[in-house]
Amino acid sequence: MMTTLKLVHLVLAFVAAPLLLGIINRTKALFAGRRGQPLLQAYYDIWKLLRKGAVYSRSTSWLFAAGPWIGFAAVVAATTLVPFGGLRAPIAFPGDFLVLIYLLGLSRFLLVLSALDTGSSFEGMGASREVTFSALSEPALLIALAAVTKYTGCVSLSDMVVATVPRLWLDAGPIVVLVGFALLIVFLSENCRIPVDDPNTHLELTMIHEVMVLDHSGPDFGIILYSAALKMWLLGQVLVGLVVPVHTGILWLDTPAALLSMALLAVLVGIIESSMARVRLLHVPQLLVGATTLSILAVVLVLR
């Protein structure tokens, strides 16, 4: 029963991931007073791309083709580690969040390499920014998790999520706020959203993630988009799971609640994107270091 539900959650993640993009776009459109693209636009794009042919640069090697797919595999593997809706993840063990984070690192590694494989200076630029910002965001994420560990005494993501009950807000409100903010910033930067990166600009000089995949086309590009969506989903799950304390233990109540909170997260992202401008690239490190400081602050509060 449990396992089947866990698998259901897994499938839910795979299915619903691109929806977040749709919600974000719709929110932005709402704020901008446009009709905006359909909610399922992302699905259409991915589907279209998967059924297209591909164009490869002559300078690329097998890495360029294989990178996105292996990276996708890494994200899929990571997805199995994330709990959802008050249920433990399909695979949960002490320190699983480390594996999660480093699996995302693997996908980033491959994506960056396939970007460099083209020899294009723009993609090199994007890759360089990508590794820079991720190197700065990882400490923030891990120290935030350390704070949670210290408070809940759990070393597994699932246990942490299960342990975040409403009482947590009452006891350790400030800590949750700090951790939440830190995780939110990491979430934004890892998924290349404003204020770190602007996914739908068309000036390559300013882009990070988008510029890395300039040369990918067809199924490769489609899978890249999909794994990006999946990554956003599972990071969102982590954020929501750690911050939103809805665990009644009643499944048909918990799962919708989790879904709802994911949607709210997407809306929040949309609001942020439509209310803020992208900060200058030079200031992104400050933002991430700020996130790190927040989580260190959280640790200090816990240790106190």
């Binding site: 998967l50 297209k52 042919g53 164009v55 490869y56 640069s57 002559r58 300078s59 690329t60 090697s61 890495l63 294989a66 797919w69 996708f72 595999a73 890494a74 899929v76 593997a77 199995t80 063990f93 002490p94 320190g95 480390l98 594996v99 480093y102 699996l103 690192g105 693997l106 980033r108 590694f109 960056v112 460099l116 494989d117 083209t118 020899g119 294009s120 200076s121 723009f122 090199g124 630029m125 890759a127 360089s128 590794v131 820079t132 991720s134 190197a135 700065l136 990882e138 400490p139 994420l141 891990l142 350390a146 005494g153 070393v155 390559e204 067809g218 199924p219 490769d220 260190i296 240790l303």
Partner: protein
């Protein structure tokens, strides 16, 4: 034990014979490499036996020098270090046989092989020696042999300078070790380790510091690391692999051995180790980011990994101190496992760098590119090594870091206040190091092997021969195995961890059992990853079947003729990070930015000299030299003055002593 000694004898005899047959290069290299392989394999068997059984083999013979005795012993700790030392040495020997071949014209190949075998024998002897004098002799034998290997191409000024720095550094380190061993065996009359009495805590602190400096110089702790970035690029690549992969680990071995000898650790020892680990790790990877020379970059990464290992040891020691078996076991297990893993992937990377060096003729990253097409084997092996050293799953590099993380999270965080602080520091720096290492190796691999060739060297690169390839492939396979078999490996670490932490065997047993079950989960995820990867690649093929797959130039935003010099260079790739950490790196920039309506050619040069070397050692030595040089007027060749010295001495003594 007899087998072990046989191995040493084979190494020694083989080296000498190869030296004598130096006239015939083929014979010399085959003899040297062959004896190195055979000797290492002979000597590695007892190590396996000891690890399997947990029994220690020892042999004590009389050695007729003052205070000396030939007392050797293989206990689990020695065995754990013997495995990488001998294994990597054997592989590197196979590699070296081909790598040194081009030098057969101008050099006597017997010489490097003699010193190589001496180096291997010295390292093996260091980890089994149980007598202070024997240890020092083996230690110096190791250092001298490696020095002569580093200066193999002594015609080049840069190599000579590197050799000089290395020799001086290691000699000064040894001076500390001499004092260390004398203090350790003071008033006992013999320097055998088993006769050493319990050290008083007052002395223990001093001994620990001496050991940290003495062994740390060899291990390459920041700021004692200055010789590393010079020596590793200078040495032949298989030697760099051995030196960086295992020789510097003898320093770690010495430190661990010291800890076992000194008894209960004080709190500040742990803090010292953790601090060293953090500084070495972060600074090491930062300096690596700023390098342009492939082997120099790898050398700095050795500093970084030594830092990670030291963090693990520090956590383990802290665990022993606060009586937290989880922290102790995980810390030491992680540290030691990382010793082995680093030996594997750093050896692999240096061999790969050597292959690039020999295939293309240059080690300068910004002159390379696109080698993945010309040197596919090397590229694949190097890719595996890069993934492993960046500490991302599913390879071995991740596992050992994971253990250290796990210790920090499971026991450090929930432990007492200072344990929690230490844990948070370690977690934060490990995370930062991981990210930076990823950046550094995407830079290295991407620039060297991907994109367009940036120079004629890269265009004319060619793949290396089977000997070098096979060594690299084996090491790459070991990287994978180290990740997949990690549960078994960790489980088998019981005896050695028990020996270091001196915890109850069953406690260690349970801890390791839990750790290995955790790792089993990880392995499941890794296999899942592999499966999904395979499937998705199949899916890709399925999707592309029957669809049009065209080739074109790289989309470069409208440039008609993209050319290889437009590519992002390694320097520019690392620029955001190096600029971010400017305040630590002090990178020197030469900028000629384009000016005017028709700008002339512009240029950018960056050079990141080692901070410690430039701002710490050079000034100190200059000051000493200057202040001593000031005294030189004392002897200016005038006879009268000389006689005056005699008279004055006489007077002073008479008046001083007869009063």
């Amino acid at each position: 034990m007899s087998l072990f000694l046989c191995g040493l004898v084979v190494l020694f005899v083989g080296g000498v014979v190869s030296l004598l047959s130096g006239r015939k290069p083929a014979m010399a290299s085959s003899l040297g490499a062959g004896s190195a392989v055979v000797g290492s394999l002979l000597a590695i068997l007892p190590a396996f036996a000891v690890l399997a059984s947990g029994r220690t083999e020892s042999l004590r013979m009389n050695w007729n020098v003052p205070l000396g005795s030939f007392f050797v012993q293989i206990d689990p700790l020695s065995a754990v270090f013997l495995l990488p030392i001998l294994g990597l040495s054997a592989l590197a020997a196979i590699y070296g046989a081909e790598y040194l071949w081009p030098y057969r014209q101008e050099k006597n190949l017997g010489v490097p092989w003699l010193f190589y075998n001496l180096l291997v024998a010295g390292m093996a002897l260091v980890v089994v020696a149980r007598n202070g004098l024997l240890f020092l002799v083996a230690w110096e034998m190791m250092s001298l042999a490696s020095f002569f290997l580093v200066t193999f191409e002594y015609e080049r000024q840069m190599v000579r300078q590197a050799g000089g720095i290395y020799l001086v550094a290691t000699h000064i380190g040894t001076a500390f070790l001499i004092v260390f061993f004398i203090l350790l065996g003071a008033h006992v009359g013999s320097l055998d380790f088993d006769t050493i009495p319990a050290v008083p805590s007052s002395l223990a602190g001093a001994l620990f510091l001496l050991a940290v400096v003495g062994f740390g110089t060899k291990a390459g702790f920041m700021p004692l690391h200055v010789w590393l970035p010079h020596a590793h690029p200078a040495a032949p690549s298989h030697v760099s692999a051995v030196m960086s992969g295992v020789m510097i680990k003898t320093g770690i071995y010495g430190l661990v051995r010291t800890v076992t000898l000194l008894g209960a650790p004080a709190a500040w020892w742990c803090w010292v180790l953790i601090a060293i680990g953090v500084v070495s790790g972060i600074m090491g990877v930062l300096f690596a980011l700023a390098q342009h020379d492939l082997k120099r970059l790898l050398a700095y990464h050795s500093v970084e990994n030594i830092g990670i290992i030291t963090m693990g040891l520090g956590l383990g020691l802290l665990g022993v101190h606060i009586h937290s078996p989880t922290l102790a076991v995980l810390g030491f297990a992680g540290g030691l496992f990382h010793v082995i893993n680093h030996a594997i992937f750093k050896g692999l990377l240096f061999l790969g760098a050597g292959a690039v060096l020999q295939g293309s003729g240059t080690g300068h990253i910004d002159l390379l590119g696109g080698l993945v097409k010309r040197m596919p084997w090397t590229a694949a092996a190097f890719l595996v090594g890069s993934i492993a050293i960046s500490g991302v799953p599913p390879l071995n590099g991740f596992v050992s870091e994971f253990l250290i993380y796990l210790g920090a999270f499971k026991s450090g965080i929930v432990g007492g206040l200072d344990a929690a602080i230490a844990a948070v520091i370690v977690i934060g720096s490990l995370a930062l190091i991981g990210g930076l290492a990823l950046a550094c190796f995407t830079k290295a691999f991407g620039t060297v092997f991907l994109g367009h060739p940036r120079s004629i060297h890269a265009q004319q690169a060619h793949e290396v021969g089977w000997a070098m390839k096979s060594a690299m492939v084996i090491l790459a396979a070991l990287c994978v195995l180290g990740g997949v078999l990690s549960p078994l490996i960790v489980r088998s670490a019981q005896t050695v961890v028990g020996q270091i932490t001196s915890l109850a065997p069953d406690a260690v047993e349970t801890e390791l059992a839990t750790a290995s079950s955790t790792l089993t989960h990880f392995v499941v995820v890794a296999l899942l990853l592999a499966a999904v990867a395979g499937l998705s690649l199949l899916l890709r093929r399925r999707l592309l079947r029957g669809r049009s797959v065209r080739e074109a130039v790289t989309w470069d935003c409208g440039y008609a003729a993209p050319d290889s010099r437009m590519q992002y260079t390694a320097t520019s790739f690392a620029q955001p990070l190096t600029d971010l950490f400017r305040f630590l790196l002090h990178t020197h920039k030469e900028v000629r930015s384009p000016q005017g309506v028709f700008p002339p050619d512009s240029a950018l040069e960056t050079d990141t000299a080692d901070v410690c070397e430039k701002h710490l050692y050079q000034p100190v030595f200059e000051a000493i030299r200057w202040s001593l040089g000031w005294f030189r007027w004392l002897q200016h060749g005038r006879l009268q003055v000389y006689v005056l010295y005699i008279a004055l001495t006489l007077w002073i003594l008479l008046i001083w002593k007869l009063v």
